[in-house]
């Protein structure tokens, strides 16, 4: 029982890290997407390289680099900031790809019809293409969030006091009695969070297939 309470105390931090990183990713993914769709080849090449680079480096390495590596005077990140920014940047790269995929599935006729009507680039993107692309991408976005909630546990390695950190700490403080219980508790909480998310993702997907 003590173990349950101890681990649950880490839950808010788990949710905070995941939610904040997700929010950063959702927003920062948009400029990356625009870069991928740029009219200028140089921009596309650079953004493509940045996204590939972000995705090529393991998340835990990013967090270590941000936490231990970035430390010029005032710019030293604390563990929470490093975790949120690191996971946020990674999320941005993945979400940009998910957004891009959403746009890629749209028939060329949609752009052509908008252009033929005389709509400008901006209106075509914002009012015609984006709403359809987001709808197409929603299941993938939900699936990504699901993975992010679990992957946020790597923040515990730099000292963010999330559920996994709490479980670890509890085991260390009660080496004789704790056993694996705290980890099972943490696992159970991840399951409780994940399953509804998975159901939402599947529902979205099913609805999308019906309406298509």
């Amino acid at each position: 029982m003590e173990a349950v309470v101890a681990v649950l105390l880490g839950l808010p931090m788990t949710l905070l890290v995941a939610a904040a990183a997700f929010a950063i990713g959702l927003v920062s993914g948009i400029p990356l997407l625009l870069g991928l769709r740029s009219r200028h080849r140089a921009v596309r090449v650079i953004v493509r390289f940045v996204i590939d680079l972000i995705r090529a480096v393991p998340p835990i390495v990013w967090l270590f680099v941000l936490f231990f590596g970035v430390s010029f005077g005032a710019l030293r990140f604390n563990a929470l900031a490093a975790a949120i920014i690191g996971l946020g940047v990674i999320s941005a790269a993945y979400l940009a790809e998910i957004y891009r995929g959403g746009f890629a599935t749209l028939p060329a006729g949609q752009t052509e019809a908008a252009r033929a009507l005389g709509l400008g680039r901006r209106s075509t993107f914002v009012r015609v293409l984006a709403p359809q692309a987001v709808r197409t991408a929603l299941p993938s976005i939900a699936t990504f969030l699901l993975a992010l909630v679990k992957d946020s546990s790597i923040a515990s390695t730099i000292g963010v006091t999330d559920m996994v950190f709490a479980a670890n700490t509890f085991v260390r403080q009660n080496p004789m009695t704790a056993g694996l219980t705290p980890f099972f508790v943490a696992a159970a909480v991840y399951v409780v969070i994940s399953i509804p998310l998975a159901i939402v993702a599947r529902r979205l997907d099913a609805r999308l297939r019906r309406s298509a």
Binding site: L117, L119, G120
Partner: protein, 260 residues
Amino acid sequence: MPQLITEANELATAGVTISHLSKSFGTNLVLDDISMTVAAGSVTALIGPSGSGKSTLLRCVNLLEQPDRGTVTVGTTTIEAGTRVSDRSLLALRRQVGMVFQSFNLFPHMTVLRNVAYPQEKILGRSRAEAEERALTLLERVGLRDKAQQHPGRCSGGQQQRIAIVRALALNPRAMLFDEPTSALDPEVGVEVLAVMRELAESGMTMIVVTHEMQFARDVSDHLVVMADGRIIEEGDPRAIMAAPTEERTRRFLSAVLER
């Protein structure tokens, strides 16, 4: 006869002139020095075997494709290939030309009403109320007012195509382009669409129609243009050409289409 065009300013239809237009995709020459004139208020049917370049020609008129050489004139706007076309003159041209596609291309996330109203708000600067009122009037005329609140996905192909026509007409174009508007439809559904087009032609709209509907081409169009291999091989009075084509290539094409 219900009129699709009523307001005085909309009667200002414009002629379309295409002059020495050429276009290649890579090394493939799809349009080879095409020149043709479509008088204001007249209907030109563009026929020919697939791959003859008729759709590409149509798409060059509103610059969905950039021609390599030649000029396109709609009303008073002329676009010269090869020169840098400013966004403004591109918009000026597209504002004058409506286009209807084989695959309708309605916006699936908007209701039928919004499909027709939104472009008016954006392009003509109409208020939402004004644009929706105009949309409802036009939908009424093609018998689809009751579909206004539905999404296009709930409408049949024939209904979607009529909505697409209305969407283009709502912007008061001075000429309309039709790219095989009935090719994706069952024949009995295509009839509804052809009826709307016929009415539009009678109301004095300038129309260029790429089609395989020979009866429509013969009965409705004023001028018939036969294309093959990127060239115009024959043009003139539709009935005359269909009754007695001069070119062997036209003869072969017509007999192939009519035998189907």
